[in-house]
């Protein structure tokens, strides 16, 4: 089985994030880059599918040169090889363009399943799976918290507000996962050493057959018009418990329509 897992490097959520004032894009240099958290679950799921059904796991990353750290980590966790789509022309691409660029790169890797985290902690658009499935003309299974492969069928539980839906599709397919799906493994020291020897193919726009006029900030379909820092958190409300603490909490929750 040819399993491709999409891995994005994002700024560490532990460090404060800032947009740059000149072009309204994220200041990626200012923070440590880490693997987008949900993508770690995607990697784990890819490895599990490989362990159960055989095949190969390819990491596909679009991002600047320093994203290699995240690629190495994914390889150390156990992925077999990686494709790194890196080109200055891609900087500032929006979701629509990103899905186009990844579609092109997938044309080179081929795939039976594409697995990705359901959203990234930086942009949080959560639309990439849907866009990819549309572009690739294959089924999408989004927000999966359980995945099973049975021959050419893929069965999944899709998380909803009320529980989950059971959905089924035929491969090839695009699958996005949520954090309830598994517990991502740590890379092992042996894995770290082995990762050094695993192939990482670097692709520029031309290599991937990407039309430069369709990607990058200047050609984006969407534009960040304005932004502001999130307001500082206001002082919380302190309720003194005079024997009626429980009632007061219930009152508060009701006032916010939580109950």
């Amino acid at each position: 089985m040819n399993i491709v897992v999409l891995v994005k490097q994002v700024p560490d959520t532990e460090s404060p994030r800032k947009l740059k004032s000149d072009d309204s894009t994220l200041d990626r240099a200012a923070a440590d880059g880490v693997i987008n958290e949900l993508d770690e679950y995607a990697i784990e799921e890819a490895l599990k599918i490989k362990e159960a059904h055989g095949g190969e796991v390819t990491v596909l990353t679009m991002g600047p040169a320093k994203a290699t750290d995240s690629i190495r980590k994914a390889l150390a966790m156990g992925a077999d090889k990686a494709v790194h789509l890196v080109d200055d022309g891609l900087a500032g691409s929006d979701a629509l363009q990103t899905s186009y660029a990844i579609q092109q790169a997938l044309g080179r890797t081929g795939f039976d399943i594409v697995i990705l985290g359901s959203e990234s902690t930086d942009a949080r658009t959560g639309v990439l799976a849907a866009m990819l499935s549309e572009r690739l003309g294959v089924p999408q299974i989004t927000l999966a918290n359980k995945v099973e492969i049975d021959g050419s069928a893929i069965k999944a539980q899709r998380v909803t507000d009320y529980g989950y839906d059971r959905v089924e599709a035929t491969l090839p397919a695009v699958v996005s996962v949520v954090e309830k799906i598994n517990e991502p493994r740590y890379p092992s020291f042996k894995g770290i050493m082995a990762a050094k020897k695993k192939p990482v193919e670097t692709l520029g726009l031309g290599d991937a057959g990407i039309d430069a006029a369709q990607v990058g900030l200047a050609n984006a379909a969407t534009e960040v018009v304005d932004f502001a820092d999130a307001p500082a958190r206001a002082q919380g409300q302190i309720v003194t418990d005079e024997g009626d603490g429980g009632a007061k909490i219930a009152e508060f929750l009701a006032s916010k329509k939580f109950v």
Binding site: D69, F189, M193
Partner: protein
């Protein structure tokens, strides 16, 4: 928020900017490594320590192990942490490739392991002891013993202990009484009682491999008659499966001030509770030759003592970071120059006296971490430097520094923990915060692995006089090189260098004066003062080294902090050695002349 366990930035500074561990990758042993593998190991260590060691640190302190007469019970988080730790292959990090290891330099391994010690020193004691045991077997065990006992420990299936102490013999191992009777089949049967054995019993692993010091009847008296034995809790059959229960049993758990998550045990060997092969007596397998047991133990001594110093440092470090964070957030009082009660209170970090306590901690823990990593890197050099001469030089310097790297952090990073409590005010004295536990945990370190007093006698009685004074010269020459560089740098650093050189010259004089009368009793009476004076001088040297790098770097908050901490150490701490060296030079006999019945 950056970690409150250790500072990744500082570890990188020490390893890469100062010790230049990347240079090691040009040596055959480390050829598969590069900066990216070092970074990945450090990151992995931080992550597992944060996710699986730190979260149960308080819980395992509050709910210490219990013994129901049958089994030891512990909170399940400890076992889970051990599984993740060995699953990541960290135990074998430094071992030879042929033994399933990854040949990671010890300096990088020590920095990585410090994350676990900072997160949970009690849980980290299990892998630390197991690794010490494995290293000893790798060095002195037979291929069969390595296969049977060491490999399963590397894989995380077995764990190990070190059984030296007995109820009546702690510092004085000459006086151990555990006996090992030779048997016709080449094995031995052990009888005796071992006290204080860390990780001596638990349910964390399939088997426990005890390394036990015992005397074979008829051997030479004293330490020359001590042999080393493997005594497994369960015998291991030829095909590696667990066999009969051996005759070693838990007599009881010790209830300790700290390190509570580590079981600490009184073990009885050969009491007859179990009868392997149909008769009482704990089955033991001799390691190496008879009567060389203590010598074998001591080959691992440098590493073991660096490990204790690293643990003390890690506890000091996390206490420092936690009190720093607290000081930034705790509003209390107003500036002395503007006490208008209508103005809001300021965070206590705005008070100079609180900054004093933070600076003292910073200078102790970052100085100690520097010493620990330097010693670990000397251990790497002693094993793998290109020429015989370089290896010998590194080994000699390491020998001299070993009592200091064990004792200085144990004393001063404990003091750092006391200051961390002080910064927290009344809250620091409660169990709602972490720092009181760090202090209790850290209080062990001056006691085990050779007490403070034993280290002092080792330094003054053996190390500095080794090779006709070569031990001390190895240290003073290295310091001299730093002083010279500081002189060239000029300015404040040259001033630090001059102060350091003055202390070193004084130490050389005092050492000679102490030994001139050839009176061992008088010379060693004040050995602890000597250890402390030399210790502070060594840390001043480490700070000068750090300051030289910081001064040459593009200025930022990190490097400014380094320079200020160095300044603090030279202004506030190094001068303490003056009166200590005066006292030593005066050949003071106050403690010597005091009599037991005058108390």
């Amino acid at each position: 928020m950056p970690s409150q366990l250790l500072s990744r930035r500082d570890l990188e500074f020490l390893l890469y900017e100062w010790l230049d561990v990347e240079r090691l990758t040009s040596r055959d042993r480390y050829a598969d490594h590069d900066r990216s593998t070092f970074d990945a190991v450090l990151e992995l260590s931080e992550q597992i320590a944060t996710d699986h060691f730190a979260p149960h640190n308080k819980l395992s302190d509050a709910r210490e192990p219990t013994f129901d007469g049958e089994r030891v019970r512990q909170i399940p988080e400890i076992k889970k942490a051990m599984e993740v730790f060995s699953g990541a292959g960290l135990l074998g990090a430094g071992l030879d490739a042929e033994h399933g290891g990854m040949q990671l330099p010890y300096a990088v391994g020590s920095a990585g392991f410090a994350w676990f010690q900072a997160a949970n020193v009690a849980t980290s004691a299990y892998p630390m002891l197991t690794l010490g045991n494995v290293n000893l077997l790798m060095a002195h065990g037979s291929p069969e013993q390595i296969d049977k006992f060491a490999r399963p420990m590397v894989e995380g299936r077995f764990m190990g202990t070190m059984c030296l102490s007995e109820p009546q013999a702690g510092s004085s191992l000459t006086d151990i009484t555990t006996r090992a009777e030779p048997q016709d089949d080449g094995t031995h049967r052990l009888t005796g009682t071992k006290m204080w054995i860390s990780a001596g019993d638990h349910e964390l692993s399939e088997n426990i491999v005890h390394l036990v010091l015992a005397k074979i009847p008829g051997g030479p008296p004293g330490v020359k008659g001590i042999s080393l034995f493997i005594v497994p809790k369960y015998l291991v059959t030829e095909d590696g499966a667990l066999g009969e229960r051996n005759d070693v049993v838990l007599a009881g758990l010790n209830h300790k001030m700290g390190y509570r998550g580590t079981t600490n045990t009184l073990l009885n060997f050969g009491e007859g509770v179990h009868t392997p092969g149909g008769r009482p007596g704990a089955v033991g397998y001799l390691v190496g030759e008879p009567h060389r047991g203590l010598a074998y133990m001591f080959t691992m001594m440098n590493e073991a003592r660096i490990g204790v110093g690293a643990g003390a440092t890690a506890l000091g470090y996390t206490g420092y970071l936690k009190s720093l964070e607290y000081a930034r957030r705790r509003p209390q009082g107003r500036p002395v120059a503007g006490k208008d009660p209508a103005t809001p209170q300021v965070p206590i970090i705005e008070h100079a006296d609180v900054r004093r306590m933070l600076l003292a901690q910073k200078s102790y823990v970052e100085g100690a971490m520097g010493l620990v990593l330097l010693c670990a890197s000397l251990a790497d050099d002693a094993a793998t430097a290109p020429t015989e001469e370089e290896r010998a030089r590194a080994g000699l310097l390491l020998d001299t520094l070993t009592p200091i790297v064990k004792s200085w952090p144990s004393q001063w990073c404990l003091e750092a923990n006391s200051l961390a409590i002080q910064v927290h005010g009344g809250y620091g004295y409660t169990r709602d915060y972490d720092v009181e536990q760090h202090y209790r945990d850290n209080r062990l370190n001056p006691i085990h692995e050779g007490t403070h007093g034993v280290q002092a006698m080792d330094l003054l009685g053996r190390k500095v006089v080794a090779g006709g004074g070569a031990g001390l010269a190895a240290l003073t020459e290295r310091i001299g090189e730093t002083v010279e560089r500081a002189g060239k740098a000029g300015g404040e650093l040259a001033g630090h260098g001059a102060a350091l050189q003055a202390a070193v010259t004084r130490i050389t004089e005092v050492t000679a004066a102490l030994w001139a009368p050839m009176d061992v009793e008088a010379a060693l009476a004040n050995a602890s003062v000597y250890l402390e004076a030399v210790g502070h001088t060594v840390i001043a040297w480490i700070w000068l080294e750090q300051a030289l790098i910081a001064a040459a770097a593009p200025p930022d908050a990190f490097y400014s902090g380094k320079l200020q901490a160095a300044r603090y150490f030279f202004r506030w701490e190094l001068p303490r050695t003056g009166p200590q060296l005066d006292l030593l030079a005066s050949a003071d006999r106050t403690t010597l002349d005091m009599r037991a019945d005058w108390f």
